[in-house]
């Protein structure tokens, strides 16, 4: 059993999704039970994976027992284990929230949700570049359908942009994978790293073109500066539990950048090492500025949270741009924090919108909230955390990142990061005072179901928890960054039979 543990985060949602497809309509309770149970099981599996990876050993699972570099492998190291655990935590909050009624607004919600999880987990675990493409497609296809869940003009129109853009991105992904395969003759990431070390110089141009095109693809997923225009509209239009799950989607782009450029184009790649760094650094700062402007300009709570996701993308990329182990560790801590909190805020926005009736999540005068006290308390905690105010987790993440910046980088990062935090504080306090205090008329909204409260509390509750557990967590992320800084360990773990390979 324990040898097959690595493949479970992919197989478990797949099987659950197939069971959930057996009946399109009806048997709501059974479907919810299967959906939540599968997500809970995924959480347990991912905890076991983290426990296994925490020791620092890199283990892999060769599908069909085809040994690397010839077969497809799933690789478990500290980073992938952490990301799978984060996905499971986020998914549990979202799926319980959806059980309050959002899942019945269309068909097949739970099945698609499980397949989305399968794609996400696969993308985090795979050690093969083409396999990464396949899992990207799995998660994208599920996300297209989930984005349209429930229908409506806004969703369809933003869905068209999202789908077309991602299809074009997929074509670009294939071209760059093809280029890299043509130049190196392998698709296994670890093997590619080894082969890049003694690459003939006439092929360097091909590899650089492929690598930078990959950056465009991952940048599209992560929504960095010139490629983010699809995000705010799509996230604001998506159903709440889906938007919450999408909080991890931009982080898949970040993960892919981190994985590909630390492993394949790490220190061993000679002249090709760190070729993304210059681009990522400046684009991250641009993303921060654009996102902070968007945060100030947003006239709708959901749009505001979508721009906060973008702020977090800019912050995370800045960590990659700095590139030292300290910065990577800081960015991983910030990544956990921002994924859970922005996911929670999307759920909270839905609850606020429901209780405000016609005004919805638009930042205009509306009727008072029936359970305003509790909602405001949740919003307050979430806002403090996401804006990066002490004492909650956002402040720790930002402080770690600012401490990791060196020399000239500080002059750029510190003001921009702090000003984006200020923009978030201004926008969130304006939004909060409008939503909770500027109201007229009678409160007549429905009481909110307990499942929704659980979903939000599960995710927002991460803020104080992440603060309390910052010590052990930072130890883990430090170790992860250390592991990423030494890609040689992974290539040795995967390709230990180098001697007798042809």
């Amino acid at each position: 059993m324990s040898t097959h543990l690595i493949v479970l985060p992919v197989v478990l949602p797949l099987v659950a999704g197939i069971f959930l497809l057996l009946q399109r309509q009806g048997s709501v309770r059974l479907k919810r039970l299967i959906g939540v149970t599968a997500t809970l099981a995924l959480l347990l599996v991912s905890i076991a994976l983290v426990a296994r990876a925490a020791g620092g050993e890199i283990t892999y699972y060769a599908l069909g027992d085809w040994q690397p570099p010839f077969g497809i492998v799933l690789v478990l190291d500290r980073l992938s284990a952490l990301m799978v655990l984060l996905t499971a935590l986020l998914a549990l909050g979202a799926v319980v929230f959806a059980c309050a009624g959002d899942d019945e607004r269309g068909s097949n919600f739970h099945g698609l949700f499980q397949w989305q999880l399968m794609g996400i987990n696969g993308a985090f675990l795979t050690g093969d570049l083409f396999n990464l493409f396949v899992f990207f497609e799995v998660l994208l296809l599920a996300s297209y359908a989930l984005l349209l869940h429930g229908g409506g003009k806004d969703r369809i129109m933003s869905g068209v942009h999202y789908v077309v853009l991602n299809l074009a991105g997929s074509s670009l992904f294939l071209i760059s994978v093809g280029l890299l395969y043509g130049a190196t003759g392998t698709l296994n990431m670890a093997d590619m790293a080894v082969r890049l070390a003694d690459l003939p110089t006439e092929r360097e141009g091909l590899v650089v073109a492929g690598a930078l095109m990959l950056l465009v693809v991952f940048g599209l997923k992560a929504a960095i500066l010139p490629l983010y225009f699809w995000l705010p509209k799509a996230y604001a239009a998506a159903p709440a539990p889906v938007a919450a799950l999408f909080a991890i989607m931009t982080k898949i782009g970040i993960y892919a950048i981190l994985r590909v450029y630390s492993l394949i184009f790490g220190d061993g790649a000679g002249p090709l090492a760190d070729l993304e760094q210059g681009w990522v650094w400046w684009l991250s700062l641009g993303t921060l500025v654009a996102a902070a402007t968007g945060v100030l300009a947003a006239r709708d709570l959901r749009l505001l949270v979508a721009y906060l996701v973008l702020v977090s993308v800019g912050t995370l990329l800045a960590g990659i741009g700095i590139g030292t182990p300290a910065a990577i560790s800081a960015l991983l801590y910030y990544l956990i924090h921002t994924t859970l909190i922005t996911g929670g805020l999307f759920l909270l926005a839905e609850m606020i919108g429901v209780q405000r009736g016609k005004a919805g999540t638009r930042l205009v005068k509306g009727r008072p909230l029936r359970q305003g006290g509790w909602l405001a308390a949740m919003f307050f905690v979430g806002a403090i955390a996401v804006a990066g105010m002490p004492p909650l987790s956002g402040a720790i993440g930002k402080a770690l990142l600012m401490a990791a910046a060196e020399g000239g980088q500080r002059a750029w990062l510190w003001p921009l990061l702090l000003l984006s935090g200020l923009a978030a504080i201004i926008a969130l306090s304006r939004a909060g005072s409008t939503l909770f205090w500027r109201s007229t008329g009678e409160a007549d909204g429905q009481r909110l179901p307990y499942r929704q409260w659980f979903g939000v509390a599960w995710l927002i509750g991460a803020a104080p928890l992440l603060m309390a557990l910052a010590g052990p967590l930072v130890e883990y992320t430090d170790a992860t960054a250390e592991q990423l800084a030494h890609p040689g360990v992974m290539t040795r773990a995967l390709l230990n039979n180098e001697g007798d390979a042809p």
């Binding site: 297209y144 074509s171 280029l179």
Partner: protein
């Protein structure tokens, strides 16, 4: 053969890109299809173009690289599913928005009513 192959791929890509940038959903869908054809051809050529190569490796020196063929097969299947999805989505958008503009606008400035 190489230059003909390269020109074909390039022309397909250019046509696909041009069509993707159009403002109606139908040309965009056709553009995506063309682009995926171009990508499939491109992937196929990445193992190196060979003629009369052995399909199975059995000690012979001159063989066709099987991996790009497997990749193209996967890419074709995925591309096909995606095209089907985007066609349905475009039709839904057409019926929801009442027109086939990608932004759901009634008609472009400077463009007459059709």
């Amino acid at each position: 053969m190489e230059s003909l192959y390269a020109i074909t791929t390039g022309v397909l890509t250019a046509c696909g890109l041009y069509l993707i940038l159009r403002s109606r959903t139908f040309p965009v869908v056709v553009g995506l299809t063309l682009l995926s054809y171009a990508v499939n051809l491109f992937l196929f050529s990445m193992g190196g173009l060979t003629t009369d190569g052995a399909a199975l490796v059995n000690g012979v020196k001159d063989y066709a690289d099987p991996l790009p063929q497997a990749l193209v097969l996967t890419a074709i299947v995925i591309g096909f599913a995606m095209t089907a999805f985007v066609v349905i989505l475009a039709m839904r958008a057409r019926s929801e928005a009442g027109n086939d503009h990608v932004d759901g606008r009634k008609h472009e400035a400077g463009e007459g009513r059709r």
